[in-house]
């Protein structure tokens, strides 16, 4: 009964986490945000975007519609409109409506404008949870020390989605110093922290994550182990990967077999033969494992 309730709680965490991780993954790939981008009515031709004084003037105006229009144009332009990032930062700094602030954060995220990270970071403290979520998502894309600092702080947020996205973001931004906090987050049912740890860990940290097998829900831990296995050898040695596979093999369950099989199918052709061999043996050893 206890196990059921624990699994349920984790499942809830995973459900929230997957949503956040999805958003985070999109962010890390430079893909569009969850919300659709505005139509490309004002997109200049020629593939480059010029931030005109008129556009900047619109951002400075007191007219909600004008600001909105300018943000839409800039968001469509994405990275190529980075020159407008300070002006959008100014907009956030002097304050605006909730809807415009959210649009500004989304736009800066799409621009991947690190220059605005510090001004965006303030919005991680906003009382409106939608703005906090928008801020952490955007900060993953704008990067920089201010973003890393804000994401670390957001791990303690009251909103599960903010916490989940922050954990994902710390992995994405390679904030290695945050590994202890991510372990704390993992213990506090922030499932996304496992994948982030998998992206950042070295040596004993990776062992510590693998040791969570059997103590934390399998899907949560393997979210991080999967990251470890597919990281370049320069970051995680073959020995470490073989050790992780050994832990999965020791588990000897059907779900570990299923996971190992999945890794087996995805293992790159040019990947380490030694690790490959270890995976093959583990798949065989765990076939017909306990449920």
């Amino acid at each position: 009964m206890r196990r059921i309730s624990v699994v349920f709680a984790w499942a809830m965490g995973i459900a929230l986490g997957l949503a956040a991780a999805h958003a985070g993954a999109q962010a890390s790939q430079g893909a569009a945000e969850v919300k659709p981008k505005p139509k490309a009515a004002a997109l200049p031709t020629g593939g480059t975007f010029t931030v005109t004084p008129a556009l900047l003037q619109k951002l400075k105006s007191s007219d909600e519609a004008q600001i909105r229009a300018a943000l839409d144009d800039l968001r469509l332009a994405g990275k190529s409109a980075q020159a407008a990032a300070p002006a959008i930062g100014d907009l956030l700094e002097r304050g605006t409506t909730t809807a415009l602030a959210e649009a500004a954060l989304d736009t800066l995220g799409d621009m991947e404008a690190e220059v605005a990270s510090e001004r965006m970071a303030v919005y991680v403290h906003h009382r409106d949870v939608a703005l906090r979520r928008a801020a952490v998502k955007a900060l993953i894309r704008t990067k920089g020390p201010a973003a890393a600092k804000a994401l670390r702080r957001a791990l303690g947020d009251a909103d599960p989605m903010v916490r989940g996205v922050a954990a994902t973001g710390l992995g994405t931004l390679k904030v290695k110093d945050a590994v202890p906090e991510l372990f704390m987050a993992l213990e506090n049912k922030i499932a996304e922290a496992a994948a982030a740890i998998g992206q950042l860990c070295t040596g004993t940290d990776c062992d510590q994550l693998a040791a969570k097998l059997g103590r934390l829900p399998f899907d949560v831990v393997t979210g991080g182990l999967d990251q470890i296995l597919f990281r370049p050898t320069a970051e995680v040695s073959d020995d470490e990967k073989v050790k992780v596979i050994g832990k999965l093999r020791e588990l000897g369950t059907q779900e570990s077999n299923k996971f190992l099989k999945d890794v087996q199918t995805r293992w790159p052709k040019g990947g380490s033969a030694r690790v490959r061999q270890s995976i093959d043996q583990a798949v065989l050893a765990t076939a017909g494992g306990a449920q």
């Binding site: 906003h126 009382r127 303690g156 506090n188």
Partner: protein, 621 residues
Amino acid sequence: MSRPFAAASFVSLVSLASLALFAASCGGGTTSIHVFSTDWSDDRGVSMENVRTRLGGAKPTPGADVVVGVAGNADKLVGLPLTGGNKWTFAHPLDSRPLVAGAVVVGSGGGELFALDALHGTKLWARPTGGLAVHGAGDDGGVTVITLSGAGGHGSVLLAITHDGAVVRQIETDKLLGAPAVVSRIAFVPWANQYVSALDLSNGDEAGRVVLREKTSRAWTEGNSLYFGEVGIFRFDAHIKDASRNLATHVALPVRELPGAPVLMQAGGERLAPVAGATDRIRLYARPSSGDPLGIEDDRFFATYFRIVMGFEAKKGNLAWVHLHDNDVVGGDAAKGALVLCDELGKVTVLDAASGGVSATLDLGEPIKACMVQAEAFAPTSGPRTGSLAAQIAKSLESNEAQLATGNQFLLRELATLDDEAATKTLVDLAESPRAAPPLVAAARDTLASRRNGARFMVESLQKHYDFLHGQLRTPPVGPMAQALAAMNEKTAAPALADHLIDPADSEEDVKQAAAALVVLGGPGQVPQAKSFFAMYRASADGDDMTAALVSAGQVLLKYGSKDGRAIVDAALGDPLTVAAAKERLEVTLQQVELEQGGAAKPEPKGDTKPAPKPKPEPKK
């Protein structure tokens, strides 16, 4: 006048049959005429004064100092002398609460009434009851007088039985008799909640009577004196003759709020169940003092609320100490310089009356269902005080038991009256405790706002913020502390308050108070947070609290933000996106600032760290 079974018309056949059971084994006379009659006219104390004269200097014999517990399945008595001696047990079914009177324990059950030697548990006598329930008992060392319910629950029966089992007197009446006392073979019997009749047990006559001007259903002896009462305490002395004119010697406990509305004495005309109930766990204890004027021994009365035990100053009613007991208290008695309590596990604890410190512990050796304590001459050594009153209250508040919630709310209100930094710390701890009951947290928050000491504890608490990762799941009581700190002009609190301005986990009310406090306590160092807050909410503040907070943040910018601060506010006032309600109030504030600065806004120079003048109240619109 006595006559055997010359029953008055009210006595039913059933009761006759019942009483016959007593009579079958006794040779005493019975009385029912004129005694307890209601055609009596107030004799202005003459008859009772005669009784007093007749008693001369006779003093009540001190009773046994003993603790008696109902154990087992309410089928066993366990006794333990308080002043040393062996524990005793006596197995007998019980259908009502046994009574300790003088040197005996009177019990009933299994169809019989019985008496035991209180110090040794040896059976003195037993009589069939015919199913009548015991109300009260008194004993003078030779004769025990017992009141029982009448047959069918109507009226009462009074029995006087010597320690060797001889029935001296048996009186049946349609009146409700209270708990009696006996002195030198004169029984003092309260009845009809206002009279005390003195019955001469040698002939059954009512030798005297007084009418008392306060509900009275009990008579008892204590410390060589005889007392009557229920709500308050009347002493039987030279002034008892003036009782009908309300001039009898009297003492009462101060009227004050207490958790669970405990009473000092339960009505003497009621049967108590053998198992203790809520009224046994929530009750008062006090002992009349000897000498004149009549007072309360040690200037202490005591109240229990389950396992909370409180000592109060008897004259003023102030709380003096709190003892959080390990288990529910189910019985006790006020002794000389002490309170003797027994708990449901059978532990007997002696608390020092002055300090509440534990001066002795005894053990009945098994869990008990109810407990009776008689501590007449028992005077233990004093016990050491454990901590300040604030610390004692804190210990109880930390218990976080649902059953103690009402008691703890009472203690919290008491805590608020203490001019002690430790009290402030307890309130802060309680208000931020995730384990504390919500009503207690709310009460602690309310109380904190009016504290005027313990600023360092408040500033320390303000360093905390909601933090899911580190398990800090309750925000500190920012709002009330901000109010208190502003009132104390505690400028060291400004940085922490500023950080709370932008903490999304704080309530809007808390943010409002933090912002208001910053107007008083802030300085240039708090301008960055005020700026961030102003920017985040100037176009989105919703509701009165957030609007008020926004205006306060604007005031901080105007007051401490130099030219930049003024420019931010000016820009906001000129921006149609700024929340209208805030804009209106900011304009008023700005005008006020301009007036203060001689008609033109003169922002303070940067880096000015001089304490800011106290803000003047806003002009009425």
